[in-house]
């Protein structure tokens, strides 16, 4: 442990600055959380919430500690001892503050958050001086921040679900067998079984379709590649249940197909003899297994396409060429060389689709009919006639356990078995074209898909422009007028602008946090990495409904009281979409050689400096694409936010759902089409950008390999 005097002086200045910031927050900012939210509070309420005016001793606890830290009476002691005192005092003050707030029921506000940050930063600075994370203050602070956030917003909420299941809410009794009672109760087994059957069926179909798409896009004619790209990203930018809504317009009881069949074969139909009663009656076949299956297949095929497409790019053509040179036929090559290389990718796409299908909530909600799955059962345990949080908790834990298990399989078993064949030796050669029969049959599937998607999206856009789809096809703008022409405070505007605002706030934070986690977990060795790894992994597997339930249970009472505010939505967006940032970060970082940072660090640039001037420029495309993807996911978020929105914080998806529930399909799809257009424009604009930056990344990759 080498402690140089100039470094010590720098640390001491930073400690002083942080403690003064904490004291200033105490002096002027609301310390207690405001009952009606920060931005909706009256001046008198703000004034009464300022630290020194709160009639409670709790605000004084961190304030006194910060004041002591500003003075540092032990500064003359040996550095090792002094820094130990700083770190211990900072950490202890945070824990005491949280415990006190929990026990005495004091909701923590802005100033308290600043004070906790200040105490954490001081502890991190001191710990770094003591040699933690190779004496790196910035990295120590980041790790502490990440661990704190993961503990507060992933582990803590999930623990409240667990507690709700094993402790009776009303009596406070310990009920260890409640979970098993619920699991054995009627309906539970069926919902679990239905979920699994659906997930596997959907995963099979999306994997096959994804494979066909990937084969066609990489190996067949290049003519329609752009079209395939648009149609494969469409479902990603579509709010989850709008696809389901389009299916209702086409296949529903008064949908196009039923109307058509009725006109031909129904009572009094064209092909029915005069006076005959007809052979066809309206059918609700779309509501149930096949409806959800179709909607999820449409929604998740692009995911497996993207996974497989990425993998195709990593297969070196030289292996195929070798096979062909040795006189193997096209088909033999495809069968014995290409497919074995694809196997882990296929398994990967399959398991990802299973996880997505298990977590999907929107499509089963509107198309489910009698087909209950776990995600809808969780929702209806709370909003339905049962009002049973323990049941919701037990269902949620089951769903979480299943998707976590699948995620672990996917991550540990398959994720490691990579057959990447890109090496530093330039892989020249040409990709083998498909055998022609295969190319043709793939083509048929691809074009059928594109035609089908086009019809569905056409119905979304047209459905908003006719009076009443299924009954009255008079063109009209009334739906759009109701949404957009009544002024900014009415109709669709408040929820639209609110969604836009929250998604824009959350997106960069999501990207930065995710990439920071990726950086820390791939590049650094430190105590507590297990926790960060585990939290990150949970965030990948946690289904939205489970997250929504856990957030209302956890953040309704002090110390962190967020329900009813817009902040809880931003927080849920960040932690729900964090995997996007982590994934992007990990893959981008794996392409950047560590030696670049080491060079910077050896030249005595701090890690903050290294990150800013070496890592960040190389990661810029990753940050942009992670931000865009998080933005889109936040705009279309549904399964978690439905538990968290209020009238003031309504978002687009919940507004649309309310209209669907009232049978107002016209307005719902009109809104949906505007949302899709918004995101199509945004993602195309950014694609333009990132499309260019992707070249830069490839250059960087080449540099790293050389």
């Amino acid at each position: 442990m080498i402690i140089s005097t100039s470094d010590s002086a720098r640390t001491e200045r930073a400690i002083l600055a942080w403690s003064l910031a904490g004291l200033a927050a105490f002096a002027v900012l609301p310390w207690r959380a405001l009952d009606y939210g920060l931005f909706d509070a009256l001046p008198s309420e703000l004034w009464d919430a300022v630290g020194w005016r709160v009639a409670d001793w709790l605000p004084w606890l961190p304030t006194v500690v910060l004041a002591v830290l500003a003075v540092r009476p032990w500064r003359a002691a040996a550095p090792a001892l002094a820094y130990r005192i700083d770190a211990a005092l900072g950490g202890a003050a945070i824990l005491a503050l949280l415990a006190g707030a929990k026990i005495w029921g004091v909701p923590l506000g802005l100033a308290a958050a600043i004070q906790i940050t200040a105490l954490g930063a001081i502890a991190a600075l001191a710990a770094a001086r003591l040699g933690y994370v190779q004496g790196d203050g910035f990295m120590t602070g980041s790790i502490l921040l990440i661990a704190g956030l993961i503990a507060a917003f992933i582990l803590f909420p999930l623990s409240t679900i667990l507690i709700r299941v094993v402790v009776d809410f009303k009596t406070g009794e310990f009920t260890p067998f409640r979970f098993f009672e619920i699991v054995m109760s009627p309906g539970f087994g069926r919902a679990l079984w239905n979920s699994l059957v659906l997930a596997i069926a959907v995963a099979v179909s999306t994997t096959i379709l994804g494979l066909v798409f990937a084969l066609y896009a990489t190996r067949a004619t290049a003519r329609f590649r752009g079209l395939i790209r648009i149609f494969s990203i469409l479902p990603i930018i579509t709010p989850p249940f709008v696809v389901g809504l389009a299916l209702i317009l086409i296949f529903g009881r008064s949908g196009t197909i039923n109307d058509g069949l009725l006109a031909l074969f129904g009572s009094g139909g064209l092909l029915v003899p005069e006076g005959g009663s007809g052979w066809f009656q309206r059918s609700g076949y779309i509501y149930g297994f096949w409806g959800i299956f179709l909607a999820q297949t449409l929604a998740f095929t692009p995911v497996s396409y993207l996974v497989l497409h990425g993998l195709f790019g990593t297969i070196s053509p030289s292996l195929e060429e070798a096979s062909l040179t040795m006189r193997a036929s096209d088909w033999q090559t495809l069968r014995h060389v290409t497919f074995p290389l694809l196997r882990p990718g296929i398994a990967n796409a399959f398991l990802l689709s299973v996880i997505e299908s298990l977590a999907d909530f929107g499509n089963p909600l509107i198309l489910g009919g009698d087909y209950d799955v776990l995600s809808t059962e969780i929702y209806f345990s709370i909003v339905g006639a049962r009002l049973d949080y323990a049941r919701a908790g037990a269902l949620g834990l089951t769903l979480l356990a299943v998707s976590l298990a699948i995620f672990v399989i996917q991550n540990r078993w398959i994720g490691r078995k990579s057959y990447v064949t890109v090496t530093g030796k330039g892989g020249g050669g040409h990709l083998m074209p498909l055998p022609s029969w295969m190319q043709n049959s793939c083509g048929v599937v691809v074009y059928a898909w594109i035609a089908f998607t086009a019809v569905l999206y056409g119905s979304i856009f047209m459905g908003g422009l006719v009076a009443n789809w299924g009954a009255d096809y008079t063109p009209t703008f009334t739906h759009h007028a109701e949404l957009w022409a009544a002024g900014l405070n009415y109709g669709g505007w408040p929820s639209y602008l609110n969604t836009l605002k929250l998604a824009l706030i959350a997106a960069p934070l999501t990207a930065v946090l995710g990439i920071l986690i990726a950086y820390v977990t791939t590049r650094k060795r430190f105590v507590g990495r297990g926790l960060v790894d585990f939290g990150a992994m949970l965030s990948f597997a946690i289904p939205g409904t489970v997250m929504g339930v856990s957030y209302i249970l956890a953040f309704n009472v002090p110390p962190i009281q967020l329900t009813g505010t817009a902040l809880i939505l931003v927080v849920s967006f960040i932690f729900r979409n964090m995997p996007v940032g982590i994934r992007t970060g990990v893959s981008a970082l794996s392409q950047i050689d560590k030696s670049l940072e080491e060079a910077s660090l050896t030249q005595r640039a701090g890690s903050l400096r290294t990150i800013i001037s070496v890592v960040l420029p190389l990661l810029r495309p990753a940050i942009i694409s992670a931000s865009v993807y998080s933005f889109i996911r936040a705009m279309t978020a549904f399964s978690a936010v439905i538990f968290l929105v209020t009238a003031q914080t309504n978002v687009a998806t919940t507004y649309i759902l309310a209209r669907v529930e009232r049978g107002n399909y016209g307005v719902a799809v009109a809104y949906g089409s505007v949302l899709i257009l918004t995101m199509l424009i945004v993602s195309m604009l950014i694609d333009h950008f990132v499309g260019r930056s992707r070249v830069q990344r490839r250059v960087a990759l080449a540099g790293g390999n050389a």
Partner: protein
């Protein structure tokens, strides 16, 4: 010193952004009536009493769940509208403030203190009648006869043409379930539900969905509270309401003050207003056609006339209780739902 400037700037921005808000206090309403009605009600009340009202539209089930979750730290002051059962449950579980409003004298007797606790935790603000409606055009197309009684609905000719909500998720459907049990006894009621099950096209998640589906011709017959259906008829859909001949159940719209409300005085003011003639007549102006409980309030012409209606003596105490509710719903899930149809 950037770190000091940021909080400082933030606090200035905060102070500036809130300077516009000022009123004689606040009120937070959880509203389980239809959103249009909720908005109109809080707007009218807020203007009349100069109170800054914020309102959250929330289903009655979710409303109860949220109030229960917020027990230690109530976010809302008043819970307005929605079927009485969850209000009852909340009252029994000690989540509500007892309040005997001076306006209760204008309320028809059965609705003054209807909740299970019998402790003036909730009052009734409207009555909605359970029944079903049929789509007249679909009826003509299929050349079927119009149903008039609950028992008509088990006829094979209606197979696949009826929609009802799922009692697991919908309070409306639970009211129907409880109504049959009170009409015929539990075993006979389940025999009826099993026979009815054969004709059901789909059990919807929400209680109002069968009505909208019937209006749009997706179903011939839809169950529901008839005031919801009156709204569709008013909108021009070819639909006719039926009050079943055997007699039927009804719902009472609940009104409660939440225990530990932060704005207790305004909550009481709102409570009195919601029971008054003016308060109850707001509903019809937004197209909600329940029957008001204030004897002086005007009954909207679209609402069902109470004189011709055979109402059962609905036992809100027994059938609102959690034990009965869970028992009946569990039996339905076990005995009715799995039958093939």
């Amino acid at each position: 010193m950037k770190r000091f400037l940021i909080p400082l700037a933030a606090s200035v921005a905060v102070l500036a952004s809130v300077s516009s808000a000022s009123a004689a206090g606040r009120l937070v309403v959880y509203c389980s009536a239809l959103p249009d009605w909720c908005e109109k009600a809080v707007e009218t009340f807020g203007k009349a009493h100069d109170v800054k009202v914020s309102m959250t539209p929330i289903g009655s089930g979710s409303g109860y769940a949220r109030i229960l979750a917020e027990k230690d730290n109530p976010q809302a002051d008043v819970w307005y509208g929605g079927t009485l059962d969850p209000h009852s449950q909340a009252g029994v579980n000690g989540l509500l403030e007892a309040y005997q409003s001076p306006m209760l004298k204008e309320i028809a007797e059965p609705y003054r203190n209807p909740a299970t606790s019998k402790g003036h935790h909730s009052a009734g603000i409207y009555v909605g009648i359970l029944g079903f409606s049929y789509n007249t055009e679909v009826l003509k197309q299929q050349k079927l006869t119009a149903p008039a009684c609950w028992s008509d609905l088990t006829k094979p000719e209606y197979k696949g043409l009826i929609q009802m909500a799922n009692p697991e998720s919908s309070g409306t459907a639970y009211t129907a379930l409880a109504t049959y049990v009170q009409l015929w006894g539990e075993d006979k009621a389940f025999d009826y539900l099993k026979a009815l099950h054969k004709n059901i096209a789909q059990y919807t998640k929400s209680g109002s969905a069968p009505g909208t589906a019937t209006a749009r011709g997706e179903a011939l017959i839809g169950f529901g509270f008839l005031h919801d259906h009156a709204k569709e008829i008013k909108a021009g859909f070819p639909m006719k309401m039926v009050v079943p001949c055997e007699g039927t159940g009804y719902e009472i719209g609940g009104l409660s003050i939440i225990k530990g409300a932060r704005n207790m005085d305004n909550a009481k003011k709102f409570y009195d207003w919601a029971l008054s003639k003016e308060g109850q007549e707001v509903a019809a102006t937004t197209g909600s056609f329940q029957t008001p409980t204030n004897v002086n309030a005007k009954v909207p012409p679209e609402a069902i006339k109470m004189d011709g209606v055979k109402l059962i003596n609905y036992d809100f105490v027994k059938y609102g209780s959690e034990a009965t509710r869970n028992k009946l719903i569990d039996r339905w899930i076990k005995e009715v739902k799995p039958i093939e149809r």
